[in-house]
Symmetry: C2
Subunit: 384 residues, 2 copies
Amino acid sequence: MVFGFELLQEDPHSRARAGVIHTPHGPIPTPVFAPVGTQATVKAVSPRELRELGASLILANTYHLYLRPGPDIVADLGGLHGFMGWDEPIMTDSGGFQVFSLAHLRAVDTTGVTFRSHLDGSEHLFTPEKVIEIQEKLEADIILCLDECPEPLDYDYNVQALARTHHWAERCRAAHTHRDQALFGIVQGGVFADLRRQSAEFITDLDFPGYSIGGLSVGEPKELMHEMLEVTVPLLPADKPRHLLGIGSPEDFFEGVARGIDIFDCVLPTRIARNGALFVRTGRLNIRNARYADDPAPIEEGCDCYTCRHFSRAYLRHLIMAKEILGLRLATLHNLHFMLNLMREIREAILAGTFAALKKDFLANYEIVPHEVRQRSREARSMR
Amino acid sequence: MVFGFELLQEDPHSRARAGVIHTPHGPIPTPVFAPVGTQATVKAVSPRELRELGASLILANTYHLYLRPGPDIVADLGGLHGFMGWDEPIMTDSGGFQVFSLAHLRAVDTTGVTFRSHLDGSEHLFTPEKVIEIQEKLEADIILCLDECPEPLDYDYNVQALARTHHWAERCRAAHTHRDQALFGIVQGGVFADLRRQSAEFITDLDFPGYSIGGLSVGEPKELMHEMLEVTVPLLPADKPRHLLGIGSPEDFFEGVARGIDIFDCVLPTRIARNGALFVRTGRLNIRNARYADDPAPIEEGCDCYTCRHFSRAYLRHLIMAKEILGLRLATLHNLHFMLNLMREIREAILAGTFAALKKDFLANYEIVPHEVRQRSREARSMR
């Protein structure tokens, strides 16, 4: 079995479940959080540190790597695993979300999507076949179909976009030949239950080895995201892993897992770390605050990350205020540890039958920060 | 013995010598290269990595730490060792060079030097007593006297500056009370043999436990630097360590060691690394060059640094071009390894009696890059 999903335990009170995804680069215990390594590096940390943090899956961005250094260079250097020195599982996205958020959109039709690079303005065309070819060169273990990421609240736009996404999924499936990679289908449909149902049925009919749910957490209220998961997940096969694209926060982990999600990926912990925002069990702490200037305590008592074992809040604040690279590193290590560790706790609780209690306890103490909306370009927002 | 210098071996063909400096935080094998941790962090690397690189001494900048986070905060957090999580030897400079290069100078007289912070324009006065007080709070193992760093080619200015430097040295010595810190005297005198001799005699008469040679490599030709070392070093006591301030490059290590220097500190390897300039045995390689875009080789074959053991030139180039933090880290690790390793080779060669051969072999293969001049502000250059 090159690729497979083993379901170990289902929670009796929710759709939460624990399992293992088997890949050519080893097992991924689920539920799992995948740190994002956009440009073939999880920002500020080394592969050795990622291993020490217990990361079992990372996600890299096809759009960025296609533009720089280019898929042929990555392929020549041994694929992403060889290129970046990470021999554990990797997934790549299809570039769809980035084209609709970072690039300058030129045109979208059934053929594909034409865009200008955010780096040098050069024009490019992503077709379903093209993004499969790129991802085959990048050689991640899990790859994704090209999808369109529309404004989630616009029904008519979502109807049109969904037709393209479904057509592209069929073409991606047909174009994909590497049997040591698992191609996941993506369910879209904005915040509309009928479109989500239609999409789940269409995409699962194509029989992918796993499914991603896209187009959420891009501006809609969190309640709508939860509702869409409740509509979508029951229509996905129980014996395949389910991935919630680009999400999330600690509270998203609990709410997503409870609704049957197995894989999460998000830049949140690494991005906010570089601004000095650090996860603790009671919420977030901003280390830039002057109250920490002479604070000898670690970020969080009892945390066993490298940062908390060796350095004070005062030192970390100094590094962040002085714009020192080590500050970005230490903050990132702490936040990644927090999120990876939280997901391990969640998994153990599911296996022990105590997920509901952990969720209740954690959320009772954790002050939720209004969630960051993933950025979309003006073009993408206005595109019809 | 809280602090002491043990001379192990003298080279028969030059003034090169190998020894050990004993400090309250452990031994420093000499000759030694001290990576610079300006703001209480060697840029981009962690204390764990510094230990793995075999660094036995680092230098931190009093001027920067005085301005941010301030010496009282560092003192409250356990001094620099506790603050930055580095329990091996540390030295601090007096802030003199930075005041004359980074800050906006206001006035210099026998009292001290008045300057405006480069961070917020606030006005400050460094007197000899003040910089000793600051350095006592920072708690480094080796600390330095306040000195004036004049334009090296201007004789009249050097005469005036030297009088102040000597007066300040006397006051620093009188003000210093912490017996677990070694206060080094600084010899100045520009590029003038008579002034260097006069300074060496005056400063050694004050009987410090070690001596720094300042005011070199700030614009004068390298031959003049060598000449000044040849004039100065023989006047320094053989049983005390000798430090060449703010220098150097690989060739400076050989030329300095051959002229009797025991301690070097320099930002060169870390600073140029962040621009993609990497040391190899044949000179410097600029990883930004397009020829490395698909190069699967490590920076240098046979190098056993973390970077060369795990990553290709192609990957490192990608990271540097994409402005990724990991690129700055990996480049810095390689350059520090190169310099620390080179100094270890030099030390072993002195102990084995093969220093002259190593120097000849290394310099025959190494293409010297015209040396970077340490930056001085316009005010400092025009100051009289």
